[in-house]
Structures are given as C-alpha cells and as structure tokens.
Amino acid sequence: MTTSTLRPASDYPPGGDAFRHRHLIGIAQLTPWEISYVLDAAEQWVDLNRSGAAKHDDRLAGLTIINAFFENSTRTLLSFEIAGKRLGADVVNMHAAQSSVKKGETLIDTAMTLNAMRADAMVIRHGSSGAVQLIADKVDCPVLNAGDGRHEHPTQALLDALTIRRRLGRVEGLTIAICGDVLHSRVARSNILALTLLGNEVRVVAPPTLTPPAIDRMHVTTFTDMDEGIRDADVVMMLRLQNERMDGAYLPSAREYHALYGLTEKRLEKAKPDAIVMHPGPMNRGVEIDSNVADDPVRSTITEQVEMGVAVRMACLDILTRRKRGVAGWN
C-alpha cells in the first residue's frame, strides 16, 4: 500500500494520450491511471482557486461551452459554469424549463441544434439514463456528463476521489461505506466504479428497498444494518434521500429512516476514529445526516467536496478540449 498521492509518470501507459477519450460519459470507460491523471491535473486548479483575487487562466479563451441541463440543478451547474469561466471560456447555460424541450422537440433535435451553434464542449445533465451518451454520439464536440438518470455522474466521483486523496493521503486500500438511496443514485454508481477501480473496499449500506439488484456484481459488499456497514470504515459517504422516496413506497417515513439509517454522532463512533464524512449535497439535515455531523469541521468534507468540484471540472474541461486547442501531443 502506497501513501504517495502523485503517481510517477511511469504509471501512465507509454505513448499516446494520458486520457484517451473524446467525451467523459462515465467512470465505466476509464482506467485507473486515467482517473489518477485527472486528479493530478486538478491539483493545480485547487491551488489556483485558492490563490487569492485573480483566479483566472485563459487557456480556453475563445471557446464556447454550453451547459445544457435538462434536469434542475443548482450546484453542479454553478460549479461547471465557474470552472469554464475560470479557464477563460465563454459559458452559456441552457435550462430545460425555458427551452423547446418542453415543446416536444426530441432530445436528438435539441442536440443537433446545440451542435449547429458550434459549441466547443457541452456539459449535459438529463433525467434519463443513457441520454448523455445518445447526445454524445450525435455531436462534434466533447461532451461531459453532468449526471444522466441513475446511470453516472463521473465528475462527482472524481471530485469525491480527490477529496478523499487530499484528506487521507491516498485513495486506495481504504474501506468506504456508501450509505442511503443507492438504487436511485448515479453518484453511488460512479463512486462504486471509481473507488473499486482504484483499489478500495467499497460497502453499500442501504435499506433492502433501496439496494439495486445484483449490486454485488459491482464488487461491493452489501449491508442493511447501518452500524455494521460503517464499522471501521475510513470514509462514510452519505447519499441524498429524495423526498418522494419517503412516502411509503420505498420507506415508511423520514423519521424511521433517520432512526435506522441517519448518520448521528453516536453512530459515527462505529467508524474509524479519523473517518471522514462525505455528502454530495444538497443535504436533508435531520433525515440522512445530523447537523452536528455535517458541520463538524474535522470530519465533514462537505464544503471541501464543493471546492474540489470546481477544480476537477476545470481539469476535465481542460483535458477534453486539448485536441481542439491543438495542444502538443494531443491529437
């Protein structure tokens, strides 16, 4: 087990690009060294973002990035917008609520329209699994998946991995418990893929009604008992529980969920003493996580995750536009 955060250049494959993809659709397409490459690239943007007043790099100057969000989002959209702007790109946001999608235009037609506007990259969120892949197949520019249905949310998994690596010094050989509504969570799927790929023991802790079928085939162990599931974990990763799951179809009530699966200070004692607590946000305080856990500056990484999000997205936008920008060695 190594504790170094930066992999030596020899870890990367010889010849060719260090990141061989035109799009970032999911973690499923990535290799461990490609994940590490993105994380390494993000470090410099963390430094830039913390460097004081002038947080600007103009390497994407003149490029147009379209953030097409077919599903509501505040933080991911904002994070991508800031990431693009900090790199000097012209960033345009499209919200489904105010677009022709509501007027019955098909997704492909919308994609072709955006494509005709000659975007240099598109960031897409959609409520249906596979929708981002569908668009990526039809357009000429790199596409970044900002979340598609229950399928993947790759930048979230990358920012989570970066957060863990910076907090614990490594993101391998750890025991990581992913807790909550795994069934409906793209964050959980991307994280399971990324964290198992990097060599961690991943546990899924969820009520049976919210555990995806055959999830053990993704190389995780499943728990329905929260105390058991987070025992001796290095990382406790909580997921957001959407309100509509609590109406009796999947769970009896919010208060029962809190009693059985809510992360309280007392319950957190089961994890390792230095275990960190993560949450992709937005949180339901008092349901899946108690405020005193969420606000604990030592253990909670929740605001740091948001910060890493901008850096990781800057890295992704930079890497995926290198071919277009004619960066030496990327063709």
């Binding site: 499923a28 098909t106 997704l107 492909i108 959609h126 249906s128 699994s129 596979g130 929708a131 892949q133 569908l134 598609d148 249905g149 229950r150 399928h151 993947e152 793209r186 799927r189 995806p212 079928p213 055959a214 999830i215 085939r217 993704m218």
Partner: protein, 407 residues
C-alpha cells in the same frame, strides 16, 4: 382470374423431422396431392431445384400489418394483436381482416376487454362473427383476476383461445429491463424475472378452474417455463410461444443503451435464455413468432427508458429459426410446426401443413443462403432489429398464398 394447377417438382418437402425429396400438386388453391402420379393438363411446373418446400409461416402475434416485411420473411398469414385501435369492435376486426388480402391473410386477434383496459368484456362473440380467430389481452395482462376469469370462461364458450401477455404489473411498474447486473450498471429501472412466473401461475389456476384454452404469447424465463411444463403434464389446455430474440439474446444486448433491444417482456439473463433453448428443444414451447413491431426513430432514437419496446422481427424470423435447426436445437419439421402448424391449429385455419386438402400457402426455402441483417436495409417500414449486423443463413425464395404466386 383462373388459377392454373401448379406442380412443384424436385423439392425437399418439409413435414417429418427431415425434409424428403418429392413433389407437390396444387389445384384450385389447395394442396391436391403429394408426389402426384397424374398431372392435369395445363399445369404450370416449378422446379424447386432441391430447395425446401414448406408451409407458409403463420406469424402469431404481430403489431402491424407490414406486408413487405412479411413477404420477405415467408409469412403468408399474420395474427394481428389488438393493440392498435384497439381492435375491440366487430367493424374494426372486419376491416383489419381485409387488410392484406389477397396475398397476405391477416387474422385479427380480438381485444379481450373494451379498449384493452382490462375492465369490461369486449363484444367477443360479435368480433368472432366478424372474423376474429382468437382473443388477446394485448401488450399487458388483465390485472383484475375477476375480469380475467370471466374473459376466459366467456371466450372458451365461443371456442376461442385467449392469448395472454404474462407480466405482473405491480412488479414491472416503471421497469424497462430485467433485474440484474446489466440493468444496475446502466442505472435502468428493472423488475425481477419472477414477474412472469407470478402472472403465469395466476392464469394457470384460472385455466384449471374454467377449462379455458390459453396461449401465453411469450414465456421467457426458466420459472415460467417450469410452470407451463407442469401444467401440460397435468393435461391443461395450455400453449406457449417465444420470439427468436429471447432465445438468442440476453440482457447484455441492452448494453450501450441499445433501444432496439428494448423489448416487452425485457431480455432476460443468460440462464433464462438457456432455459428457453432447452424448452424449445423438449417441446414445452409450441410457437415461434416474430412479435413484429416496427418502430421508427421517433419511438426508438430516445433515451432507453423513454423509447418504446418492440422489434421488427418478421424478416429475420425464418433465418433465425433455421439457425436453431443448424445449431441442433430442433429439427426442420419441428421448426415449421412452431412457425406454421401449431399457429394454424390455434387459429383454426386450414393451412400450416403440407397435407392434401390444406390451403396451398407455400414457401420455397433456400436454407443455406448467407445474408446479413442490416437495420438500414429492411423491407419492414422500420428497421428496429436487435440483430443488426448479424450474419444469418436461409431465406424464402418463392411464395404462394392459396396457390397464387406472390413472390
């Protein structure tokens, strides 16, 4: 138009397990003799050049009358599912029955309930008089067991088979795939495969109670097939069918969100697929059909869960069936029982076999010709085949409907 007698010579007649050399005489649109000793004057002779001569395919349970695809596939009769319309009135049934004549006969399957809503009995008797050959529950089952029981008893009294779709609607609500690793990795809402067995179990109990004959249009899981096997052993009047897709593809085919592989019922696990192959070999499965359901890009070029289920299957049915023969699962004779003989019995039509007196619905099959399935070059009005790109062998080279050459 006067129909000349027709003598097809030098053919391999498909009837028993292996085709045998022989010839066949057609007079007045019906099969007059096998290996005739005397040929009437003015008979037209067709040299089959050693190709298989088989009964025209009777495709049980299609969703559109798509003549070019049926003719490409050697299909002379198609039983039309009641979903478009829906076919729940005598007038609609009568119109649908005229849809393909004279070169394709469409046998409408009457909607079991008004509007296929599963609530009230449709006018099954009047639809029978208008030409309905059986009734069907459509793309879904009848959820209400009380309604289902009355439908079965009523249809049985009219001598009609009830064709059933077997999926429990509670388990499958919102689902677009079968529970398993693939659905979980893709993040698709899925339902357990037992949704099928649960639905079959209920309906078998009702069959036992009412004595009504039924046909489960598609049985695709090991547990479902076990129930059918047990019911047949008990002597219940039960038939079941399948499409080539569930015999040849498992849920790995939906990888990359391929909407052409979005089917109803959804593709199953590899274990279930093998159970289906075993069931077609041991005779549990009675009918092989295409489930032909052409869907254009407006229905298929969508995110997986938003796309509509269904495949264009009519053109590939024969070739994929011949593949089952080539792979040793079934004999040629059994293939045409699955494709024509049993469907004819179910519908009560006088065809589906090379026997004297039957309607001369015939196809010549070159069982060895290789070709490649190409979604972009289909005769069907939409090319939504899950077998796109697959190399196959065998196709219909000539076709007669009632002794009339149509291809």
């Amino acid at each position: 138009m006067e129909l000349k007698p027709l003598h097809i010579t030098n053919a391999q007649l498909v009837g028993a397990d292996t085709p045998r050399a022989g010839s066949l005489l057609v007079v007045d649109g019906r099969i007059a003799a096998l290996d005739p000793a005397e040929i009437p004057d003015g008979t037209e002779t067709v040299d089959a050049k050693g190709q298989w001569l088989a009964p025209g395919i009777i495709d049980l349970g299609v969703f559109a009358t798509d003549k070019p695809a049926f003719h490409f596939g050697g299909i002379t009769r198609a039983a039309l599912m009641p979903d478009n319309g829906p076919l729940d009135g005598a007038g609609l049934v009568e119109r649908a029955a005229k849809g393909g004549k004279p070169d394709l006969w469409v046998h409408p399957l009457a909607a079991a309930t008004k509007g296929l809503a599963g609530k009230e009995l449709a006018e099954i008797g009047l639809m029978k008089q208008a030409g309905a050959r059986a009734i069907a529950t459509g793309r879904a089952r009848i959820a209400d067991s009380g309604v289902m029981r009355r439908v079965l008893a009523y249809a049985a009294s009219l001598g009609l088979v009830t064709i059933i779709h077997a999926e429990d609607e509670g388990l499958t609500a919102g689902a677009v795939a079968t529970d398993g690793e693939m659905a979980t990795r893709l993040g698709l809402a899925s339902a357990p495969a037992i949704a099928e067995a649960i639905a079959i179990a209920r309906d078998l109990a009702l069959v036992e109670e009412t004595g009504a004959p039924v046909h489960f249009r598609q049985v695709t899981t090991a547990r479902g097939l076990e129930l059918i096997r047990a019911a047949k052993a008990k002597g219940l009047p039960v038939l079941c069918g399948i499409t080539p897709a569930h015999l040849l593809l498992s849920d790995t085919a939906i990888g990359d969100f391929r909407t052409f592989a979005r089917l109803s019922p959804p593709l199953r696990s590899e274990d279930d697929r093998h159970a289906c192959l075993a069931a077609i070999a041991d005779g549990t499965i009675d009918i092989l059909a295409s489930g032909h359901d052409p869907r254009g890009p407006e229905d298929k070029r969508l995110p997986f869960a938003e796309a509509l289920p269904g495949m264009a299957g009519a053109e590939t049915l024969l070739a994929l069936g011949l593949g089952l023969v080539r792979d040793g699962h079934i004999s040629p004779g059994r293939l045409f029982e699955l494709l024509a003989g049993t469907p004819a019995c179910l519908l009560g039509v006088d065809a589906g076999k090379l026997a004297v007196g039957k309607e001369a619905d015939l196809i010549l099959v070159d069982e060895g010709t290789p070709w490649q399935v190409d979604a972009k070059k289909m005769a069907a009005w939409a090319g939504n085949t899950p077998f796109d790109g697959m190399p196959v062998q065998g196709r219909a080279t000539m076709m007669w409907k009632g002794g009339l050459r149509i291809r």
